[in-house]
């Protein structure tokens, strides 16, 4: 007689008020494949933990967002937000799809240039741009988004020195009815700072004001706020036209669209409560179409969406290191990845699926990372089947920010693999080794040897 499959014995108190298991199977249904490639084979070839990016998913999200906007507004341009995920392979998928580049530092700027993005299709944002970086951007005809007056004056000086008219936009902050209001970036709309800056730029006549930019926040769950922002920028553009007979070429509404992740503390699932691309597109296009433009002068609408276009395309595969019982009786499971590479675990309840089949018995579990740090918690409470050492898991919706905000703290950064549209896997960033770290270090001679 063949033996029955084994499962760890579990006992769970029947509490009223706690999550009942009936119908929640979708939450912990096994995910054994990503884009038809088995999790097992990915881990055996590339190791664990492992980031996996689905090119299919990126292309699908991009086509969804462009359909939503282009069917509602005639002129739309996307610019890939490098800080969200600047793996060159990822950037180039977006560039192949027609995205410009949106960067917030000199190193990102150069990354975009090296990827082959023409300087005139790079949007340079952020409060910190050095003279060298500004000079390069001016020479390349890049779109420089001015954050503060100090920067504005410096650009005017550089324009004179370089004998070239820089193309600029100003970043505007405003009250769009949401809290907290992001008023630390750019010039304020309500108190007239933004209008002042526009006047200064145009009256100086040394630089070209080509656009207006606003980035109202992040993970915005209210599409209407974008409608308000679009109206206010359109209003500034209209007054510029009236006073100076000058057309503003583009309106850039930044990024901030929510992905399908579930924010901590939110009652409903992100997949149910996050607005759709159509919701955002409707609010923005309605505001712009209702603004005071003639048909020929409709500005180009630029969007810098990052998170919403890459989050769902990213997966993190990992392995169970151990199970432990906490002093209060809760089950805890230690995984081989933690907040060092899954930074977003700080603000999302990431969906986590087992990568192998289980019976329908479950346990409430705390998921910990491998760091010897108390903050290293992947999920504070999740219902999962009883997993054992060596079992594998899939974390969903991790494509945004993790591969840029990760750190080599305690353990090093793992491999990143891209699955292309034919299901072929490509290593797009090799895991770090001790040499990666040591190659950057220098040893003073007097410290080079010791005896113990």
């Amino acid at each position: 007689m063949s033996k029955l499959p084994y499962e760890r014995p579990v006992i769970q108190r029947l509490n009223t008020g706690s999550m009942n298991k009936f119908g929640t199977r979708t939450e912990y249904a096994p995910v054994t494949h990503i884009e038809n490639v088995s999790v097992k084979s990915l881990i055996s070839e590339f190791g664990s933990p492992l980031f996996v990016i689905s090119e299919n998913k990126i292309r699908q999200l991009y086509s969804d967002v462009t359909r939503a906007f282009k069917t509602r507004y005639p002129r739309v341009q996307f610019a890939w937000s490098y800080k969200t995920n600047y793996m060159n392979a990822v950037c180039n998928v977006f560039h192949q799809l027609g995205s410009w580049a949106e960067v917030v530092s000199g190193f990102e700027y150069n990354k975009a240039l090296k990827n082959g993005v023409p300087g005139s299709k790079i949007i340079f944002n952020g409060p910190d741009k050095t003279d060298d970086e500004l000079t390069l951007a001016i020479r390349n005809d890049s779109l420089i988004h001015i954050d503060h007056l100090d920067e504005l004056y410096r650009i005017i000086e550089l324009a004179v020195e370089l004998k070239k008219r820089p193309k600029v936009a100003i970043r505007v902050n405003m009250d769009v009815g949401i809290y907290p209001m992001w008023d630390r970036f750019g010039f304020n709309y309500e108190n007239g700072q933004a209008w002042d800056a526009i006047n200064k730029i145009i009256l100086t006549d040394k630089i070209d004001l080509v656009g207006l930019h606003a980035h109202i926040g992040t993970f915005m769950l209210s599409p209407q706020a974008y409608g308000v922002a679009a109206s206010k920028l359109a209003d500034l553009a209209y007054h510029t036209k009236i006073k100076f007979e000058k057309n503003i070429e583009y309106i850039d509404l930044g990024g901030g669209f929510a992905s399908k992740n579930t924010l901590k503390g939110s009652y409903l699932k992100g997949s149910d409560s996050s607005p759709s691309f159509d919701d955002y597109a409707e609010a923005i296009s309605t505001a712009l179409l209702n603004a005071e433009y003639t048909k020929e002068h409709m500005p180009l609408l630029i969007l810098e969406s990052g998170r919403a276009l890459i989050d769902e395309a990213g997966f993190l595969l990992g392995t169970v290191i151990a199970n432990k019982r906490l002093s209060d009786g809760r089950r805890s499971t230690i995984l081989d990845f933690g907040v060092n590479i899954l930074f977003t675990a700080f603000w999302y309840d990431h969906k986590i699926s087992p990568a192998q089949d289980f019976s329908h018995y479950t346990e409430d579990t705390v998921l910990y990372g491998p760091l010897c740090m108390n903050i290293d918690v992947v999920r504070e409470n999740v219902t999962l089947p009883p997993m054992k050492k060596g079992d594998q898991v899939v974390v969903h919706t991790v494509g945004a920010y993790n591969m840029t905000q990760w750190m080599q703290f305690i353990s090093l950064r793992p491999n990143i693999v891209l699955i292309d549209t034919n299901g072929k896997t490509h290593l797009i960033r090799a895991k770090e080794s001790l040499d990666t770290l040591n190659s950057q270090e220098r040893m003073p001679a007097h410290l080079s040897s010791f005896k113990l």
């Binding site: 009223t16 999550m19 009942n20 119908g23 929640t24 979708t26 939450e27 149910d272």
Partner: protein, 349 residues
């Protein structure tokens, strides 16, 4: 006339001291002269009394909590439907409505299950924080209100308000404050519990009156019965209430149903000021727990809702009996452990 057989799934079986509307809705359906109903109870917890009321509920199933998401709910409903052949679902909880609204089309297309819910936009615009805007749009008086995000905004409240004011949490809870210090205290309490913003609303002196109403989604008011609470529990719930003869209130309710094209059942909470003006305080996007009073007064709103869900035209109710009382009571069911075991381990009973 032979009654039509129909399978109706109902949530909100928590007929406890602060009851959900499920059991009253079921009683209304059982009173129907048109339908011979089989009731399928949908419960979230294992101790919802309706689970054990076998004379009212024929069969019950546990469903995943709203926070588990629509995908989990849909999968569970697929299973329940495969056994029960559900014709109509009547959700009765605020917290679950968004998920059901999201699934309305899928349930209809995939399983032929009908519902009759407010649209997503209607559901959103009646939120507490949006009520001022709602009032403006539909010509209904709403006490002046303002959202605040910081205690720094409290001193300047006197520009817009005269004390006392009502300090309200984002989702629940409200307290009356008579001075800025009290506003600050409630601000801190409520924001710690529900987050920001905090809603400040002008306090209106008067008596609270409520309406249970139903609209056909095309601007027709199908029914509206006004009620004043006679006796209130410590949670502010009606323990007893009486149907009112108040044409003005009914006409305000009808106007709101018409202007908002409200689809489905709703409860409206008003304050009637000393001067006889009505101020809308809150809209609940579903039947109230006291909806059975409407049945007692001659308007069977749940039955009308089922008819409309099935795509049938319903004639508006013209009359209701005034001066009818409801008196709520609690009742201790004796339940065998076996039943608790069954619902706990199998998820059905």
């Amino acid at each position: 006339m032979k009654k039509r057989k129909i399978n109706i799934a109902v949530t909100g079986l928590n007929n406890i001291d602060s009851p959900g509307p499920g059991i009253p809705v079921i009683r209304a359906l059982r009173d129907s002269k048109k339908f011979d109903v089989r009731i399928i109870g949908l419960s979230y917890e294992t101790l919802e009394p309706g689970l054990y009321m076998h004379d009212l509920v024929d069969k019950s199933y546990q469903v995943p909590f709203p926070s588990a998401g629509t995908e989990a709910l849909l999968e569970r409903l697929r299973y329940i439907h495969s056994v029960e052949k559900i014709d109509v679902i009547i959700p009765n909880f605020d917290a679950e409505l968004q998920n059901f609204i999201k699934l309305e089309e899928t349930l209809k297309k995939e399983m032929g299950i009908s519902m009759f819910l407010p649209t997503h936009d209607q559901f959103e615009e009646r939120h507490k924080a949006n009520l001022m805007e709602f009032g403006k749009q539909h010509g209904i008086q709403v006490p002046f209100g303002k959202m605040i995000f910081s205690t720094a905004e409290i001193p300047s409240l006197t520009k817009d308000f005269t004390y006392p004011v009502v300090v309200k949490g984002k989702y629940y809870d409200a307290s009356v404050a008579y001075n800025p210090e009290q506003v600050a205290t409630y601000f801190n309490k409520l924001s710690a519990k529900w987050g920001l913003p905090i809603i400040i609303q002008q306090y209106v002196f008067g008596s609270e009156v409520n309406v249970t109403a139903i609209g056909d989604g095309k601007g027709n008011a199908i029914g509206a019965v006004p009620m004043r609470k006679q006796y209130i529990t410590d949670k502010g719930k009606a323990w007893a209430g009486i149907s009112l003869d108040d044409e003005k209130l009914v006409s305000i309710a009808n106007k709101l149903l018409a202007s908002s094209k409200w689809r489905g059942g709703m409860e409206l909470e008003f304050i009637k000021s000393a001067a006889g003006e009505y101020f809308l305080l809150e809209i609940n996007p579903r039947f109230p727990a006291w909806v059975y009073l409407a049945v007692g007064c001659g308007q069977n709103h749940p039955e009308a809702l089922v008819l409309m869900a099935l795509g049938e035209k319903v004639k508006p109710f013209k009359e209701y009996e005034k001066g009818k009382l409801f008196v709520r009571y609690s009742y201790d069911l004796i339940v065998d452990l076996k039943e608790f075991e069954t619902i706990s381990t199998l998820g059905e009973l």
